[in-house]
Subunit: 106 residues, 2 copies
DNA sequence: AATACATTATCAAATAATATATATTATTTG
DNA sequence: CAAATAATATATATTATTTGATAATGTATT
């Protein structure tokens, strides 16, 4: 599936760095709320995830520095959206694997 | 995409635990070698990844305890294969996103 | 200036990573 | 059968990183 060992390592490092950013429940919840590609304000995210505000901002900072999300300021509010198509692809797979079956079907 | 906040958190925790296991270059390289669903012996994996044996065994141990891979003994050798379909799905997405474009095309 | 919203700084506790040493299990050989 | 070897696993020690909580600070609007 991957012939060149040096390239394998390079790619594995890149991928695992992104996975590291994803592998935190709070950060993953945040990204789930942005997985539709639309943007959300920080206060919306605060409501949706029920995270304590400084933690929220802290985790958004991690995602921002990794380039996974991008900010846009509008007055006093900050809006974030997913800024990395690779992350978006992973999020969709995660949704299929971890959420699709556990959906609340009335 | 995900209405119930409690369920969101539950799923996010499950997913991030698996991602944590994936988000290490050595472990990811190992899993890449098993991503075709076939099994490989530890010594094969040692050759393929050029990892120092105790590290290799240590990382295999992490993956095994997380249930991502399953062992089979055959004489003195141990064979491992991916034992989790969710992990397999994630690995395929990762391959598409991080390896597909960088393929060595002669 | 006051208010609401958002970010940064600090720091102890918990976890994870890396390297080295040692142990286990099974086969082979004398 | 006992000793040697091979393949893999575990233990340990050290260092580095991450987490989680709280306090302090910054920024824009009213």
């Amino acid at each position: 599936m991957q012939p060149d060992p040096a390239l394998l390592r390079t790619n594995a490092c890149a991928a695992s760095q992104m996975l590291k950013a994803l592998s935190h429940p709070d950060r993953l919840m945040l990204l789930c709320q942005l997985a539709d590609g639309k943007e959300r304000s920080v206060s919306e995210l605060e409501t949706l995830t029920a995270l304590y505000q400084p933690s929220l901002s802290q985790q958004l900072g991690v995602l921002r520095r990794e380039g996974l999300i991008a900010p846009r300021r509008e007055g006093k509010q900050m809006f974030y959206r997913v800024a990395d198509t690779r992350a978006l692809a992973i999020l969709h797979t995660l949704y299929q694997q971890f959420c699709a079956e556990t959906e609340t079907t009335p």
